[in-house]
Symmetry: D2
Subunit: 137 residues, 4 copies
């Protein structure tokens, strides 16, 4: 079921993230999503920078984001995330809800994969950690 999330992280809009329309610039949402994924990975014992230094490079293959309601100066919001391992892909379903009214702001599907020493492959570390997340749902 889609509303089941594995992780969530709260943020507050920073004024420098807003553009001349007075709303958060679209590209900034990708920053929010990335930071949430990295914090989620940290939370399950995987550090993005440490993986990188071990030659495991997590890369985004596709980002598909639907923008529903713009965030504005001073808004608080939560990024929620569900992770699935599918073949050589790790899918992150990431949705952003404004707080406190829980209005849906963004619906995103981020497809990632890993390069291990430069070649596409499945990282055992990530696979096992995601399997444990799933088992604990």
């Amino acid at each position: 079921m889609e509303q089941q999330y594995d992780y969530e992280l709260e943020f507050k809009v920073r004024d420098y993230e807003c553009d001349l329309q007075g709303i958060v610039n679209n590209s900034v949402y990708q920053n929010y999503l990335e930071h949430t994924r990295h914090e989620f990975l940290n939370d399950i014992g995987l550090n993005f920078t440490e993986l990188f230094e071990k030659g495991i490079v997590a890369v985004v293959a596709r980002a598909d984001m639907q923008f529903k309601t713009p965030l504005k100066s001073n808004d608080k919001f939560v990024v929620k995330l569900r992770a699935e391992h599918e073949g050589i892909k790790y899918m992150f379903y990431q949705d952003i809800y404004r707080l406190p009214d829980n209005k849906l702001c963004l619906k995103g599907v981020i497809t990632t994969t890993t390069l291990i020493n430069g070649r596409l492959g499945v990282s055992t570390e990530i696979k096992d950690a995601l399997a444990e997340v799933k088992a604990n749902r």
Copy 2:
């Protein structure tokens, strides 16, 4: 035919756009795509800021980007764009090619729409300008 573009703009990667993996951060590609759309609009006589001041707010409803080859420090590249008006949507097909080898870096579909004085609607200015682009193809 997909390879037919209406506009193209050349860029060079700036080092501050690269992240700790040594490649351009994914969110920065959205900046490249946005800047190219705004320059295209300028080119056909539509200024994003002027539209905004007239109450015509162009908003991105969906951004779907496939990341094919990462750009790195010092890379030059070109963003190519084709625009289509479809109902209340303006679709921008935007692809990024590295220069000089024309390697495909990103394939994007950006769906935009307009709010006119706060309500979803078709902007005659944009519609007419895009029709002229199409007629001149």
Copy 3:
């Protein structure tokens, strides 16, 4: 005494803020300082966006930042701030300390001023609010 601060705000480095040297890009520190100033203003009842909409435009006239120790991926830190009203200037002394070891990362002096309906002037709202901050020190 310099170590007396009026406000402080905690942050955590986000990976997208790091550049290819693996440390937070210098320009990002200005973002941290700005966000802290705006949160401080909020805290004393002044909202940056609301001021802007009333025609009171707070602008940075000078930013002088000494970079002492770079912040890295996963670092936590605190931005501390002392505000002083001096003639037509509002001075913000802003220092960044890494947590938990309180290592000094940045020493900054940000000189701001206000344009009121386009002309340089002292905003009574800001002046009074800062006087109250001082009185409560």
Copy 4:
């Protein structure tokens, strides 16, 4: 004499660089200055990333910027630079002028230094290249 520059680079403001005040956000000027320094270094045969990979890490020790006139959407501008080697410091005097009216937008002094394999030191590569720039003035 202050108006003597060693290098200059033209830019155009990108809309995503503007904040809710409708002007280029202050932190973005540091991006412009950094990109100009790196392009200048490239121009004199020094590549920032290559230096980094050789263990020569150029770091900013201090950035002092006076903001004179804000840049806006669609503005073109030029960043001019003069470089001086002084002891263990490389000083970059960097000024931004709006085009075509040459209005001064920013006056900056960026103090940089180099870490060679983690220790403060003078990079022979940079020192020699800057000496040649000076000889050719």
